[in-house]
Symmetry: C2
DNA sequence: GCAAGTCATGGTATCGATACCATGGGCATG
DNA sequence: CATGCCCATGGTATCGATACCATGACTTGC
């Protein structure tokens, strides 16, 4: 394999100018005369030159890379968030370096450290609960950090999201207001899924003294959200037969729970309400028609990109908290 | 914001050794005595040192970064592919730099060029049809390129995937074998979605002379797969009332088509079969129970990672074509 | 008409880590 | 005991682009 790259020096020689002029022509064309700009562009085209951003990052101390960490990409709303983020960043000339923690808190510090090795200009974390190791790393690095999907009271620097707790509370209140007496919260068991924790807290808020019941299905390799939902519903009905509503932590679980309920001949929504979270694309399909909470993942990503660009422009974003809210979508299942 | 990073020189001073020894202690610990290794590690911990991979990449001419390009992350199987890829790469000490083309062919060359700016050690492209610009860039860069999700006759270097055409053909044949006479192919209209093109070709192969009918719904901002599926079904029934099967290019479309059919009181699968593609997690849920083609996206990603690591180790991967196949999942809708 | 200022351009040092070569100590071998 | 080799370590040049400062040409204003 050919391992020779054309360098800025080659371009400079071909164009008959100094290297630095080539650099300016590409980075800040306004600082170069129209004449030389043209010569440089011609040489760039002819040689097929692609600037080495790594070298540029080293000398300018600005990498034009933003590191992002998500728990998983396989939840569609996170994928949308990343899309929004990537669109916004690339419009501003920044690139995205992606890592995933797979809900393992001990991986977070490791991944942050790996990302920091690339000297990103900012970091976007899709989570707001961090280990002490992670916090130490972030403090030492001293770069802008933007947290997504939750709104901590005191973000590290800035946060974009909505209140998972309020969303869980509103959904549960809605169920109670429409006559449900014994709603149960259904989730998967994950040590560091604080978004799920907050939704569950919201559920408990709404119950306010009444009996709160929560079931957490342990995740297993090779099984999917709907599997857990189906299994969870079976366990719930076995343990608490009087249950008349299941508040699921995600749409995937809700779809599984809903189908399992129907399979057992339980009348939904007559005898049992089932609600989800996220409003995935199939949630509104008429065979499911799931009552859920709609989150605009792409908007969260876009807003995060906007903040990131501002921070990279030197703006002080500390203390910014942007609440993008959520929307309770009432459909057929509750 | 603090913009000062601890350097290798700082660590060397603190540990009382030379910089180069620190480099070796971190990169190839076996080449350093146990004694100095310990001293270096202690200094690293105390100073909170994180190696600057950018600088390392510049001097070693190996970035330990792999660029990946996908059409979209919002299709769950691509998300799984990326997960598999990322898991495999990070196990081998490589990082993933991600870009997305959003099905716009003219964006591909731009994105490839942007990725090449980071001097990746290899490139993974989730597509096999490239513009001439892209091919020129790849040739000039001369790095290993791995194509996913399709199996071109002559891959640039290596390819991992399955035959979309065979999958489309098998699904259609299955429908014909079970007595369907007038299957219609339903897809979204995207200029460069060659995977959809190949599935459609397979559909035509299976019809072999009989009348092939295909409907392409134009994509619009803010609408989702199920929307297109529902709309597509409506148009199909209006234009070709005798249709007794709809072969959808994706599960998301199939869910929409299925629900729309039911809403119209069409008996599925009695009067109409509906099939999908991808086996998304909710496809198997009993309310849908969709007949579809299952693709192991994560396996494609893992296999791609394996090849990438081999290529980075200097192995010649040219000509490798790995067919991971697919599985026709027969459920209730056809 | 001359000082002051602006603009385009180039030279050189620098960013932080690694490759390459050099060096010196310790050990085995004859 | 001398030779030779290996191992651990360090010095210096280098990767490719940019920051900073300098230079010279040319314009502007009184």
């Amino acid at each position: 394999m050919n391992r020779k790259w054309v360098t800025m020096g080659d371009v400079a020689r071909a164009a008959g100018v100094g290297k630095i002029t080539v650099s300016r022509a590409l980075r800040t064309p306004s600082k170069v005369s129209a004449d030389t700009l043209e010569k440089v562009q011609k040489a760039v085209m002819e040689l097929g030159y692609v600037r080495d951003e790594t070298a540029g990052a080293l000398s300018s101390q600005r990498s034009r890379v933003v590191g992002a960490l998500v728990s998983t990409l396989e939840q569609p709303v996170f994928a949308s968030t990343i899309r929004g983020l990537e669109e916004g960043l690339s419009a501003g000339g920044l690139q995205l370096l992606l890592g995933s923690t797979r809900y393992q808190p001990e991986k977070e510090a490791l991944m942050v450290s790996t990302l920091l090795g690339r000297r990103p200009d900012a970091l976007v974390l899709t989570s707001s609960v961090h280990t002490e190791d992670t916090r130490r790393l972030l403090r030492a690095a001293g770069l802008p950090v933007i947290e997504l999907w939750e709104l901590p009271e005191t973000p590290i620097h800035a946060a974009v999201g909505f209140s998972n707790r309020a969303a869980g509370r509103d959904m549960t209140r809605h169920l109670i207001a429409s006559g449900r007496r014994a709603p149960v919260f259904l989730r998967t068991e994950r040590a560091s899924d604080t978004r799920a924790d907050m939704r569950e807290k919201g559920y408990r808020d709404a119950l306010d003294g009444r009996q709160a019941r929560s079931l957490a299905v342990p995740p297993q390799e090779g099984r999917s959200g709907p599997d857990y939902g189906a299994e969870g519903l079976a366990q719930i009905m076995a343990r608490w037969p009087e249950t008349d509503a299941v508040v699921c932590v995600s749409d995937a679980l809700a779809v599984g729970a809903l189908c399992e309920a129907r399979r057992r001949g339980i009348d939904v929504p007559g005898a049992l309400a089932v609600t989800g979270f996220g409003d995935i694309d199939v949630a509104g399909a008429s065979a499911l028609d799931l009552t859920t909470v709609c989150i605009d993942g792409a908007a969260i990503g876009r807003e995060a990109a906007r903040l990131t660009l501002a921070a990279c422009d030197g703006e002080d974003i500390r203390g910014t908290r942007i609440d993008l809210g959520y929307q309770l979508i009432r459909r057929a299942t509750g």
